[in-house]
Amino acid sequence: MADLTTNFLGIRSPNPFWLASAPPTDKEYNVERAFEAGWGGVVWKTLGAEGPPVVNVNGPRYGAVWGADRRLLGLNNIELITDRPLQVNLDEIKRVRRKWRDRALIISLMVPCDEDSWKDILAKIEDTEADGVELNFGCPHGMAERGMGSAVGQVPEYIEMVTRWVKQYSRMPCIVKLTPNISDIRKPAEAARRGGADAVSLINTINSITSVNLDSFSPEPMIDGKGSHGGYCGPAVKPIALNMVAEIARNPATAGLPISGIGGVTTWRDAAEFIALGCGTVQACTVAMTYGFKVVQELISGLSEYLDEKGMTLEELRGRAVPNVTDWQHLNLNYVAKAHISQDDCIKCGRCYAACEDTSHQAIAMGPGRVFTVKEEECVACNLCVNVCPVENCITMEPMAKGQTDPRTGQVVGDYANWTTHPNNPAARPAAE
């Protein structure tokens, strides 16, 4: 079994799997169950300033998108930060801390955007002995309308300012949680770094309406005939999260800034992908809300088996994919591939043909007896046939070797060359004479 022990900002945990700040980490009872099940750490559900407790709706808080067989693919929520009194949370955090010294215990915070509010809450959490704080600049609903959550996260200057206060008034490591509801994720990450953040975590949930009820004509989840946007999470958001994580990992201004990856982590493989893009820990939530805390056992055994098979340590996996994330103009235009259909594996459904003939390049031929073959002189290797084929590895993309002639273009496959030097690129400059 590979060693999954993780050290993130000096915070140790037996594995890199943390539960994200959310309902599963709202109280001692849940967190204890999570630790018993094997989770490496938790980010305690967001605490607010002292005062009258937060009020939640009394109807549905969650909406969902399902796949066939009701597999939960996406979840959205309109729940607010903790609605329990601050002192109750602090007492429970303290108890959990003393009982579970080997787990990571981070406190998520969200208070109004003024120095005193932050100074005050930081003082109050000091003696919980928590490992660090996560600044909730991400929540897109309910709190944002009160000038908190994503309302702060969408303004880099506010992020920098608040982060600076936190570093000034607390000795704790500070993780800044970013909202994806923004056009360029690098800007808030850069602001966090300027403010002195020790790490960023992302993504928080995405503004969403999961569905519209076609009888009552209200968005779901519906509260008394009305609905409001909620924060979307779960398997569906993973690709968005991976891209944002990669953007920060490869941005020179934020490269090396520790990242806690969040967004649709459902299996060990998802977690491994986040780690390969540079994440020190991964945070999960929807998977636990769907299957219970025990699911962490699959994350542990799966990541461990993968590392053993690769003969790799967790550290060696970390960031391994980052150098391979590049911009479009640097992709090799002389990489030429052709689709290949394995006749042994083909079940003759014709989906590849329909996709290619109707919507792509008319590069698949349908012969007598429903035999489907690739017309290499038409195939641009777009990969659509691979993606719609129901049989795994039946259609594959076979790269052409250097020196071969592409039957589509009549050009010989050459060495690496990208758009920046392509003759059709008006901005391309000839090499210096």
Binding site: D69, T267, W268, R269, Y291, E298, S301, G302, E305, E392
Partner: protein
């Protein structure tokens, strides 16, 4: 081929040569990778899962299926083996239709359970190729004698060896495996699987196998108690119940368990003799296995006769359907009155029965079945109970100090491979606690 299905008497070679191979193929072929992924995808990962509760070894079924679904079959196998070291054979022989799959919420909801048994086989087959997954703990210097190399003995020995104890298994037969090797239908465990599994299990180390050593003949329980720190008895049931009817000494009458064992050990099935008209008396899995295999060997007429109703048969509905699909006829509510013949059995006379609140009454009406071979399958019993062992319901109820028992020979639990594994494993845990003074 000199004989055919119509040749009278008990003869070999009733079928054309290729039919033997085809008839005894794996009756539930293994899942392909894609099939396994699709099958695994149906699991709901239930909380406190009913399938897990229904499994005598309490395998964490939702977890191992999720591990298959996430393409880590080795992790899945380890989840299985940490509870049931004979998970490979259990995947083949467990009556899953009355255990885990019966409890599956999808069986309840849709009448179509997750294919737990086949998924378990998928994972264990894959991972067995990769070697043995467990490592022994440091040696404790303690020595334990295990009597019987069946599922209970093997499970007990493996768990003890894992914990660092040294184990000697005494097995009266020439091969280890017990009923896995000698007692189940060939098409349930093809390709010498039972022996491969034993070899793989022994890779844990610290287990010495002494074959041809029989309790009561070659050594006494007292010898083991003196020489070893603890003793585990997993001797199974060696006695076979007799019909107790007139004519039972005629030629052509034998025990179904012996018929099954002989078939399992045969190198060439075409030399195995079988009757033209075979009558199997009994209602359990042994009866079904013997009857189906008689048909597969080329018997023309095979009939299972059971003295009570269908719902009382210990062979599951699935097993019964399998038998009838192979052309076996099952007659319920009939008991043998006498076996008829001159030297060689020729027929069996039965009386119909009525079940009166559990008590069986013979009705006046009778019928006779032609039979040149009769197989007894009305249960096995414990024989040669060693001194100091107390019997309860014909099984080992209580044992003297430092002696444990499990499997079919011990009271409690169904007589199933998976139950034997659970009992062997649990006895090992108890022995370990005892020896370590915990």
């Amino acid at each position: 081929m000199t004989n055919s299905k119509l040749t009278p008497g008990i003869v070999a070679g009733r079928l054309p040569a290729p039919d033997y191979e085809r008839n005894f193929l794996d009756h539930t072929p293994p899942l392909e990778v894609h099939e396994a992924r699709v099958a695994a995808d149906r699991c709901y990962f239930c909380h406190d899962a009913p399938c897990m509760t229904a499994c005598p070894t309490a395998i964490d079924i939702p977890l191992f299926i999720r591990q298959i679904a996430t393409a880590t079959p080795e992790a899945a196998a380890k989840t299985i083996w940490s509870q049931n070291i004979l998970g490979g054979i259990c995947a083949r022989v467990c009556p899953t239709e009355t255990l885990c799959e019966q409890a599956c919420v999808r069986e309840v909801a849709e009448g179509k359970p997750v294919e737990i048994g086949r998924l378990q086989r998928f994972a264990t087959d894959y991972a067995m190729e990769k070697g043995h997954p467990f490592v022994r703990e440091a040696s404790t210097g303690r020595r334990i004698a295990v009597v019987g190399a069946g599922p209970a003995g093997l499970a007990c020995a493996h768990r003890l060896a894992m914990k660092g104890h040294d184990v000697v298994i005494f097995e009266r037969r020439s091969k280890a495996g017990g009923l896995n090797e000698f007692g189940i239908a060939s098409y349930k465990s093809t390709g010498g699987f039972a022996q491969r599994e034993v070899d793989w299990l022994l890779q844990i180390g610290g287990i010495e196998l002494r074959l041809g050593a029989e309790l009561g003949r070659d050594f006494a329980l007292q010898d083991l108690r003196e020489e070893y720190d603890a003793v585990f008895l997993g001797v199974g049931l060696q006695g076979v119940n007799l019909l107790g009817t007139e004519g039972e000494d005629l030629a052509g009458i034998s025990n179904a368990v012996d018929f099954i064992a002989e078939l399992r050990q045969a190198e060439d099935l075409s030399v195995l003799p079988v009757g033209r008209d075979v009558v199997v008396i009994g209602g359990g899995m042994t009866a079904v296995d013997a009857a189906v295999q008689s048909r597969l060997l080329g018997a023309e007429n095979v009939t299972i006769v059971y003295r009570r109703g269908q719902d009382q048969m210990s062979a599951s509905a699935h097993e019964q359907e399998h038998a009838t699909s192979k052309g076996v006829r099952i007659i319920h509510n009939a008991a043998p009155l006498r076996l008829i013949g001159k030297g060689q059995v020729e027929a069996v006379e039965f009386a119909y029965t009525a079940d009166e609140g559990g008590r069986l009454r013979l009705l006046p009406e009778t019928f006779t079945l032609r039979a040149d071979q009769v197989l007894r399958a009305i249960g096995q019993r414990l024989t040669g109970l060693p001194d100091g062992i107390e019997a309860r319901g014909g099984k080992i109820g209580a044992a003297p100090a430092r002696v444990w028992a499990g499997g079919d020979c011990a009271a409690g639990g169904e007589d199933l491979t998976v139950t034997a594994v659970a009992e062997g494993r649990d006895a090992a845990e108890a022995i370990h606690l005892h020896l370590c003074g915990l």
